[in-house]
């Protein structure tokens, strides 16, 4: 257990440098950045009583229970109303959250008090605690991270979906796995076309292309007790969605295709304002600048092409 902890502390040592860029890019950071100034202002007003502070802390504690819905709890709903109607109370609650190392993403009736853990907060989730193997094996660590990214990418397949507050994404575990596999397969085909030898050099496993790590891992496996094989890709994706469900980001809707889930408003906020931009900043730092002009990567075929396709599709079988 102790060497395990040492591992992950080591693995995270490079974080503080990235934290600056990550937090600056995060949308929610703008709000929290103003906080130190308003807090004394509220005090100067003379209106803050210990009871107010208790209420503000209570609101934040509601926010720390991500599965709790404001619509189901009268006290939560009351405090939210108070947050919106009393600017002084709002600043107080924000200050409590910031003091606890939390970033306020949004406060609304649909998402509740949506807070997210700051970089060094006690509430932050560390990869080593999330998956035991991940701290020892960099391939596993990558796969767990990629699973989370892939779940978000499939839940919000288009930029419009991520931007639209009313959008609800639907995913299945097998769907996520198959989608990443397909992306890997296309890269493999492309490498084959270019006659590239993608087999990595034995001495430098770190130079192996990321897609190969995923493609190599088996999708599933039989286990003695009929549970999902933890090391398989569906096992890893299954773990990710189960964890996100615990975080109040996903709702389980059924058992088809390895488990079906829908997204919550909180997940959209988290991905849009925190995770997406943090990962993006990291990618830019690596010198990879994904160029898009805002249009989808695929141009839909014109109507004429579409009709032609249908006609062709039926042709041999009408004869």
């Amino acid at each position: 257990m102790s060497d395990h902890r040492a591992e992950h502390a080591d693995a995270w040592s490079e974080r503080p440098t990235d934290a600056a860029t990550g937090a600056a890019a995060a949308g929610g950071a703008a709000e929290s950045g103003e906080l130190p100034a308003p807090a004394p202002a509220a005090a100067a007003h003379g209106a803050v009583t210990p009871a107010d502070a208790a209420d503000a802390a209570r609101l934040v504690s509601f926010g720390l229970q991500p599965k709790l819905l404001p619509a189901r709890d009268v006290e939560y709903a009351d405090l939210l109303r108070r947050y919106r109607e009393e600017p002084a109370f709002a600043r107080l609650a924000d200050a409590v959250a910031t003091g606890l190392g939390l970033v306020v993403l949004e406060v609304s009736t649909r998402a509740g008090m949506a807070v997210s853990a700051g970089e060094d907060s006690v509430f932050a989730v560390r990869m080593g605690d999330y998956a035991r193997r991940a701290s020892a094996d960099s391939a596993d660590r990558f796969l767990h991270g990629l699973a989370h990214l892939a779940v978000a990418a499939l839940a919000f397949p288009r930029p419009e979906d991520l931007a639209d507050d009313g959008y609800i994404g639907r995913i299945t575990v097998n769907g996520v796995d198959a989608f990443v596999r397909q992306a890997c397969r296309r890269l493999e085909e492309r490498a084959d076309e270019q006659g590239e030898n993608t087999d990595p050099a034995t001495e430098a496993p770190g130079l192996e292309a990321a897609w190969r790590i995923y493609a190599r891992r088996s999708a599933t496996g039989a286990t003695k007790d009929a549970r999902r094989l933890a090391g398989s890709t569906t096992g890893i994706v299954g773990k990710a969605v189960a964890f996100l469900t615990e975080s109040g980001f996903l709702h389980r809707t059924g058992d088809d295709a390895g488990g079906a889930y829908r997204t919550t408003a909180r997940y959209q906020l988290q991905v849009r304002d925190m995770a997406g931009s943090a990962a993006m900043a990291e990618l830019l730092e690596l010198g990879v600048v994904p160029v898009t002009d805002g249009t989808p990567t695929l141009v839909p075929p014109s109507d004429a092409d579409d009709l032609e396709l249908t006609a062709e599709a039926g042709l041999p079988f009408h004869a």
């Binding site: 970089e119 991270g145 569906t234 990962a279 994904p290």
Partner: protein, 508 residues
């Protein structure tokens, strides 16, 4: 195992044979052959490692069992799922048993499972194999590379079950055509099949037909993966060129093969019916089954292809015709996942780590009180219920027998109605006979006779009955103290069950 397709297979690397491999171009052929060679290694390895098993297992030919297992999985692979693990083990058993007939069944099963698990390579986390080979880089430097491959992989099936599929590598190793184009190889195999049939060489024809089926399975597998991607995300697939081309190609292929295989089917049926030697007849019958299976697979493929167009349009409606939002969002796939995957893993991991750290949400830390801890530690562990709740013993009540007629009466009536086929009788006579045996019997006889007025001929044929009771009304009035109506003529008709059943199989 030799392949008919391999006769046309001229390895391009042979031309580079005498020269030492220097550049990457010359090396490529060598690398390809090394990889092909690596795929056979797990099979040889089985025979080497059987000595390490606890027990005396040298009598079993493990490589043979392994090849048979790959064969079975390939043939049982469906379009949607794969082959069932238990089924494969069960089908392997006869071969294993044949290798050591005097050993116990449990050992046979253990061997079959051992081979299958080793082909999946259950012990490793990737469930795959790795071979190391060396190539010369463009700068002349010698680089050792890892080649990762699988032979049998486990895929998720319906309802959380796990199925087996053979990988492309395994199919290639098995078929023996290591570097041939799928489509052209199939055409070659089928042309050969036709020739073989026309010359009456059925043993070779069967081999060729089986090869054709492997090709078909391989083709369907490629298509399945592409169609699946289309269902998931319209944007992930090139619907402008690649997919329509692929669909057109696949439909051409299906139409072509369908025509082709129907022609073959007609030919083999003729061969089967005309064959005098029982061995030939059996082989031809097997061949009919194989070709029918090919046709079934084609039909399945075709229905998937026809679904593709409507599916694409529905998805496009949903994605392209909604009101656009004012805010510009991040394109998670296009801007994060897609650029990330080609990166070396040591760089990609920084991006996924950042996403995980900011996207996994928060956890409230658990604080433990010593008092609780003592309680928790002292609580005895809960017995896990393996069998679920106990089933209550069902309380069975004997229902009173309220049938109007007894079994003996029915037997007696049937005996009475078991008429010779050339001597039908009047109902009045039958009723009089029945009345002499038992006063209740005429009712049963009358009932059976009325039923026979509209006999279930089709059902009788389908069940292969040899004869059938029938009744005809010729207008004569029934003169009986208890019954009224027509005095039916009751007789027994003979059915040509054998002929019908032969027709039926032919039609199927």
């Amino acid at each position: 195992m030799t392949s008919p397709a391999s006769t046309e297979f001229v390895p391009p690397q042979l031309s580079a044979g005498p020269r030492p491999a220097q550049g990457p171009a010359a090396d490529e052929g060598l690398a390809r052959r090394l990889r092909a060679l690596a795929c056979t290694a797990p099979l040889h390895d089985l025979d080497v490692r059987k000595a390490n098993l606890a027990g005396e297992y040298s009598v079993y030919a493990m490589a043979e069992i392994a090849l048979a297992a790959i064969d079975l999985v390939t043939l049982n692979m469906d379009f949607d799922t794969g082959a069932d693990h238990e089924q494969i083990v069960a089908r392997l058993l006869p071969r294993v048993a044949a290798q050591a007939p005097d050993r116990p069944l449990a050992e046979h099963e253990r061997v079959a499972r051992w081979v299958l698990e080793n082909l999946i390579n259950v012990g490793s986390v990737d469930r795959g194999f790795r071979a190391v080979y060396g190539t010369f880089g463009p700068d002349g430097a010698y680089v050792r590379r890892d080649y990762d491959f699988k032979l049998i992989e486990e895929v998720p099936g319906y309802g959380g079950s796990v199925y087996l599929r053979t990988t492309d590598e395994a199919v290639n190793v098995l078929v023996g055509a290591l570097d041939t184009d799928v489509t052209s190889a199939q055409i070659a195999a089928e042309v050969k099949l036709e020739v073989l049939i026309s010359r009456g060489r059925l043993a070779d024809a069967q081999l060729a037909a089986e090869q054709a089926r492997y090709r078909t399975v391989q083709y369907a597998e490629t298509l399945r993966r592409t169609l699946e991607a289309t269902r998931r995300n319209v944007r992930a697939v090139d619907w402008l060129n690649a997919v329509p081309d692929m669909i057109a190609e696949a439909l051409d292929h299906v139409a072509d093969r369908y025509r082709h295989e129907n022609a073959i089917l007609t030919n083999i049926r003729k061969a089967r019916d005309e064959a005098v030697e029982p061995e030939h007849k059996r082989r031809a019958a097997e061949l009919v089954d194989i070709v029918k299976d090919c046709i079934r697979r084609h039909t399945q493929l075709q229905s998937r292809l026809l679904d593709a167009g409507p599916l694409f349009r529905a998805e496009q409606d949903r994605q392209a015709f909604a009101t656009p939002t004012a805010r510009a969002g991040l394109d998670l796939y296009g801007q994060l996942v897609a650029p990330l995957l080609p990166l070396p893993v040591e760089q990609a991991i920084r991006v996924t780590d950042a996403f995980f750290a900011h996207g996994a949400g928060l956890r409230t830390p658990v604080s433990v009180r010593v008092g609780d801890l003592v309680d928790i530690l002292l609580t005895p562990p809960l017995e896990r219920e393996h069998l679920g709740a106990e089933m209550p013993e069902p309380d069975l009540i004997a229902t009173p027998d309220d049938s109007r007629f007894s079994e003996e009466q029915l037997a007696s009536a049937m005996e009475l109605l078991d008429l010779p086929h050339d001597a039908p009788r009047r109902l009045s006579g039958l009723l009089a006979d029945a009345r002499r045996r038992d006063p209740e019997l005429p009712y049963l006889v009358a009932l059976l006779a009325v039923h026979a007025a509209s006999p279930p001929v089709g059902t009788a044929y389908r069940q292969g009955e040899k004869q059938l009771l029938f009744a005809v009304d010729d207008g004569t009035e029934l003169d009986d103290p208890e019954f009224g109506g027509a005095d039916l003529i009751v007789g027994m008709a003979l059915l040509d069950a054998a002929g019908m059943s032969a027709d039926r199989t032919e039609a199927a």
